[in-house]
Every structure is written in structure tokens, then in C-alpha cells.
Amino acid sequence: MKVVIIGGERIAYFLAKSISSKGYRIYVVNKDAQLCEDFARDLKAVIVHGDASKRSVLEQLDIEEEDIIVVLTNKDKENLIITQLAKKIFGVKNIVTLINNPDNIELFNKLGISAAVSTTTMMQRAVENLLFGKELEEFLSLEEGKLAFLKIEIPENSKVIGKKLKDIGLPHDCVVGGILRKGEVIIPHGDTILDIGDILFIVAVPTVQTEIANLLTGEKDAKKI
């Protein structure tokens, strides 16, 4: 079994370095001749200079079904054709790929590539968590972000404190699934009264995230201004 790393610059380098240090056989394929020279000097790996979206290049790699293929180019169209050639023509089962446009994650999944990593999505999530402030945290998102699981803490001067859940006017596209209060879990219903420091676990459509955050963390007399 070997690990074949296709495309990528720094990620490919550090990935190859860390995997080879664990004693696995590594092949690195890259289109960039200069990069290949650097890799050949610095890595304990077989370096192949060529375009892996070409079947003839893949054929040189003696790919076996048990191999692991990691695809890291910065173009989704290349990643797609490489993963599909590997899967359909060479019968490789374990394929990991980078995805640049988050819209394509679903496509790769439908084409049988379940290990698709989108750095854009990860960065987007990190930025959004900063945007919404520390009170709101998206801790899980399903179906490429169509459904979000949010965790939000009720701050000290929130206007919803002392109110019933059904009266605070949460948007329709969300459900409060649980409340963590002083270490105890409450499964809420409409009559549950909110308190300072409650941590709400909410299942929501991403478009209402901001509305939820504003509603639950908004300060008491803020609206009068």
C-alpha cells in the first residue's frame, strides 16, 4: 500500500513529510518542474513530474486498489477528473480530495468521493463564528451547510431573560432542542422561561442565524434608540 499525493504545494510537502516519517511509501505527483526538484531533494518519496489528470501519467504510478490517493490541486475540475479516473479506471477505494468551491462538495459526494475537504468552508465557518461574536457558535453543519446546529449563551443583559420561549419571537426556521442550565439539561417547551447564562442548542437554517443571535443577545432597551 502506498500514499499518492497529487498537486498542492506546501500542503503536499508537509503531508508527504509527516506520512513518510511514519514509514509509509509515498508518491508525489506535481505539474510544476521546479517544485518536483525541491521535493526530490527534501522528501523521502518517489517524485513524478506530470499532469495527473492524464490517464497516461496515472498509469505510470502502478496504482493498486488499496492505495490511498490525496488530491490537492487548486482547481476543482482537475480534482474531479483525477478522483474519478482513480476510482473508475484504477478501482481505488480510498480517495481524499481538496475542494475549492463549496458548491462542489455535494457533487463529489454524489460521485462517490466522501472524503472531500473544503478549506473555503472551514475558513468561512471560522470567520462567521467571529462575526456572530463569542455567544454564538456553529458547532455542526449538515448537508453542506443547509442545516446548522448552533450553541448560544444568553448574556447578562439580554432582553429575553425572564420570558417564555414561545413569546420571544424566534424565527420559524429554527427549533430550540435543548437548554444547558447550571450543568443540567432541560428539554424546553414553549413555556420554558429563559435565564441568564442559559446555553441554548438550536437547530436552524443558516439564513436565520443572524436574526437568532440578535434576538437572544440583544440588550434590553436597545430598541428604543
Binding site: R55, Q84, L85, L111
Partner: protein, 143 residues
């Protein structure tokens, strides 16, 4: 579902080069509804005066652009960019995001043909066509 006759098709053509533009113009001139997509605005200059359809200036590897073309309603999608890898991504998006039944793609590299066919994309390969045609001269009585 509306029953379409052969003389009123909805075609989406991706890539407005010489082939794309000519097919689009001809299809448009005989009354089909045609939408052409290209990411290079200048490419639309290839269309002839007969063309009465719509043009979309955008990158068809992006889902939003395909959606704008209402590609899910297309009877045929012709994927004719200059690059096999681009054509593969677009063909797969048409099939798997928009359930287009008839996707026909241009494939230059003969090595790629099998992959397109595995996913039920019809292939036109200029390379293979030329090889076959030229080989006919050499192995004339082969057939």
C-alpha cells in the same frame, strides 16, 4: 410535464467557440430555444445574425450560472469548452445537480472517453473523428 415536439427544443450550449456558436446559430435559426454560456464575453461575437437566443456571460463550472440558464429544463446540453477537465466537471454538475438526461460533451483526449461514458455522457471526440477519417484513406477496404 409539457410535451415537446422535436421542432421546439430547449438547448443549452456551453462554450461559444466556432463549434458552439455555429450549432447555436443553426439551432436558433430553425426555431429551437437556445441559451449559450461562455466565460469570455468576446466569444459571443462568433454567433451569426441568425442567432436569436440568449447569451449568459459566466463560468459554467459554477452552479449558479447553470441555474441561471435553467439547465434543468434543457432537452440537450452541449458541453463544448476547450478543456476536457472543465467539460467533465460541467457534465457531472448537469447530471447530478440538475438531472439533465442528454448531456453531450466534446472530449479531446481519447483516454478520457471511457470515463465520460461511464457516467452516461455522450461523447464527441474531434481527435477520434479525425483519426478515423484519416485512417480510412490508409486502410480503405477495412470496412
Amino acid at each position: 410535464m409539457r410535451n415537446k415536439s422535436k421542432d421546439n427544443l430547449y438547448l443549452v450550449i456551453i462554450g461559444c467557440g466556432k463549434v458552439g456558436a455555429n450549432v447555436a446559430s443553426r439551432a436558433s435559426s430553425i426555431g429551437h430555444n437556445v441559451v449559450v454560456i461562455d466565460k469570455n464575453e468576446k466569444a459571443f461575437e462568433n454567433l451569426t445574425v441568425e442567432f436569436t437566443g440568449f447569451t449568459i456571460f459566466g463560468d459554467a463550472t459554477e452552479k449558479d450560472v447553470l441555474m441561471e440558464a435553467k439547465i434543468d429544463r434543457a432537452d440537450y446540453v452541449f458541453v463544448l469548452t476547450e478543456d476536457d477537465n472543465t467539460n467533465f466537471l460541467i457534465s457531472m454538475a448537469c447530471k447530478y445537480y440538475f438531472a439533465v438526461k442528454k448531456v453531450i460533451a466534446r472530449v479531446y483526449e481519447p483516454d478520457n472517453i471511457q470515463l465520460f461514458r461511464e457516467y452516461d455522457v455522450e461523447v464527441i471526440s474531434p481527435t477520434v473523428l479525425a483519426i478515423d477519417k484519416l485512417s480510412d484513406f490508409v486502410v480503405g477496404d477495412y470496412k
